[in-house]
Amino acid sequence: MADNTTEKKGAMKMDLNTPMLDQLEDGPWPSFVTDLKGHAEKRPQVGQLLNQLEESYENRWNYWTGAVVNVSGYGGGIIARLSQKADKYPDLAQFNTIRVIPPPGFVYNTTKLRELADIAEKHGAGIMQLHGMTGDLLLLGYDNAGSFAAAEDIMKAGFDIGGSGGALRTLQCCVGQARCEMACYDTMKATRFLTNRYIDFLHMPEFMYKFKFKLSGCANDCANATHRSDMPIIGTWRGPMQVDQAKVAEFIEEKGIEAVIDNVLTRCPTRCLSLKGKELIVDNENCVRCMHCINVMHKALKPGVDKGISILLGGKRTLKIGDTMGFMLVPFMKLESDEDYEALANLIDNVWEFWNDNAHDHERVIEFISRVGLGTFLKGIGMEAEPAMVARPRTSPYIKFEELAPPRMGGEQNQNPPVWQREPEVQES
């Protein structure tokens, strides 16, 4: 058994030669260059990193190669980075990233965060990033042995490592009910539930391509779920919003009636707010739960009491079919009881099964839906279509109505098997 400590031999110390990076030490915003220069005193490989980065700045070129390296039993969580200039910077030969699953909402007690900082430093360069764009706490700069030893210590400290490749990726959520009055469901609990329920899919890249959840407590979408996740889960409510008319009147007295007209009434997307004196009348049936009026008058207005979630599907950035945003899949469901959580998991299982059974390699779920059509997808996951899913019905009249297709020559009903199930037709000779 190898010694767990990989604070071995010590990296090669190298004089810094970074005239371009030095210019990023000027100015009032905190400089990562200054911080890393200080850190290089302790971890000389960071000096090599800065020198390589300087060459990138000079030549406008990158010197990292990606590769695959895995902790035993895991298929993700470590991103291998190999320097193409390892002959010059020997301690960058293996300089991997470790993705650590942070506590939901990026909350930390300092004891644990300090423990992670110590682990980060113990086994390699120990550069920390809080946080990566997917939502991991990133540790940078480990050779393979250091990566394994660090991962072991991370797990001993009670943390786990996150997803990479065609896997479920580390989940991300807003602060939710822990500190926000707007949150319509417990985002932290749901994030932890989904992470732990599907931890195997985080650890093993078994999907056709990556899958991301992001969870926001309301339509303000502080987790940027709509743009950045395959399944955005967004808090909402049924029934009327809560209005405290006394505080409405206070708001009007303080800010003036014009401010309410300009900033609240006329900004309502469905024009469902009006004033009767200093009383706010809400057409709750037409409220689309956009949160705007609540944001402006947040002491007077609150989400309704019958809270739950909307589930969307398919947000991602541009590659390969262009930008997409999540569309409404489930307009409302409760997320409180164990049964509610099981119902959510059941939906996710159905989406994953149909997607992974039928998608192409490297096809995100929305790209798959774009290819086969939402109608086909809904049939595949056993859901009925409903108007909330679309902005408008179709305009193209060319439709294959299964119910209206004539019987075949042999007399049997044409079942029109969906394209993903269709057997090649065999010609009888």
Binding site: G105, Y108, A178, L319
Partner: protein, 357 residues
């Protein structure tokens, strides 16, 4: 002796109950309202009457363990040992004691050198990607341009004087991991990938062919070995193949440029979420401080600050004043490259007689 490293431990996400401030734990789900006391300081009030004061500071995202310990020192001294990060890489110090607020601000400025702000109608911290520091695909370094840009915009981070909040992102390749934002900075390439035919054995060729969104890649024998060719007329220089196969080099230090996009919005408030649109292109990839990028972003923010109405995000402001006015106010030329040619192209045209004359 270490324990066996075989098999996953499946520990999953840490229990947040151990990581939230006791006042957050006590009032979980019971918060009533919040008020922004000044830029960077928010007071959250619970139905129980408890208050939690939150001081928000901008971080450089990339930090040494020593800096993380310094952050923890402040949280230990004033915040009962708890802290939080936002998705825009700000760090939040929370305390139930009002008298700690100024002490935290002083400590953050003096001990960390981090600015206080990023709340309300400010320009918040920039989300950005790994860049030359540690990614395998980048054509630029996001962290450097972000540092230079925030040096410029720090005054707007520390104030709340914009019509609404401003989110900015910077991405170092066209995969755009920095994502949509009110203002977004992305690299663009200007020719088809250069293929290293001698090194194609490291890639799965069927996957390389299949990943092309323009169907521009086809198999080809080169000097007796399997390889691919790219049909230049079809290729849109996106670099999808480069992510799949390092031998399909899309980057070019001499020709890559940066472009700026505006109007992305994730939240469903008012008109709903929106995607970002091209504002200007062809900016030089100019390390170490990318002054042309800072200049363009400053122009957009100045115009937005001047003519945006309260609560209008950048995209909503432009929709109201019209794109012609946006280009006039920023001085960016409107070119034929600004016109969509993707699958939804026709729906992006002005299909009405509406025009501001």
């Amino acid at each position: 002796m270490s324990e066996s490293t075989m098999g996953p431990r499946n520990q999953g996400a840490p229990d947040y109950n151990e990581h939230i401030h006791p006042v957050m734990a006590k009032n979980y789900g019971d918060w009533d309202y919040h008020e922004r006391l000044k830029p960077g300081v928010i007071r959250y009030v619970s139905k129980s009457g408890d208050s939690l004061y939150v001081v928000r500071a901008g971080s450089p995202r990339t930090m040494s363990p020593a800096t993380v310990h310094k952050v923890c020192d402040i949280a230990d001294r004033y915040c009962d040992g708890f802290l939080r990060f936002t998705i825009r890489c700000n760090v939040e110090f929370s305390t139930p004691k009002e008298e700690n607020v100024e002490l935290i601000i002083k400590a953050v400025k003096e001990e960390l050198g981090f600015p206080i702000g990023g709340t309300g109608n400010s320009v918040s911290n920039i989300t950005h990607t790994q860049g030359w520091l540690h990614c395998n695909l980048p054509a630029t370094d996001a962290a450097g341009s972000v540092k230079a840009l925030m040096d410029d915009l720090i005054g707007e981070f520390e104030k709340e004087e914009m019509p609404n909040r401003v989110h900015i992102s910077a991405s170092c390749c066209q995969i755009n991991c920095g994502s949509h934002a009110d203002i977004s900075i992305i690299v663009q390439h200007h020719h088809a990938p250069r293929i290293d035919h001698k090194n194609m054995m490291i890639c799965e060729l069927p996957k390389v062919v299949a990943i092309c969104p323009a169907a521009a890649i086809r198999p080809k024998m080169m000097n007796g070995a399997t390889s691919v060719e790219v049909v230049d007329e079809k290729c849109m220089y996106c670099g999808a193949c480069h992510g799949q196969c390092p031998s399909m080099e899309i980057r070019d230090a001499d020709t890559d440029t940066l472009s700026i996009w505006v109007g992305g919005k994730a939240s469903s408030t008012r008109g709903g979420p929106s995607q970002m649109k091209l504002a200007t292109w062809g900016l030089p990839n100019n390390p170490p401080r990318w002054p042309e990028v800072s200049d363009a972003v400053r122009k957009i923010l100045a115009a937005y600050k001047e003519s945006g109405k309260p609560w209008e995000r950048v995209g909503e402001w432009i929709e109201r004043i019209g794109w012609a006015k946006f280009f006039e106010m920023t001085g960016f030329p409107f070119t034929r490259y600004h016109i969509e040619d993707g699958p939804d192209a026709l729906t992006t045209l002005n299909r009405s007689s509406h025009v501001r004359l």
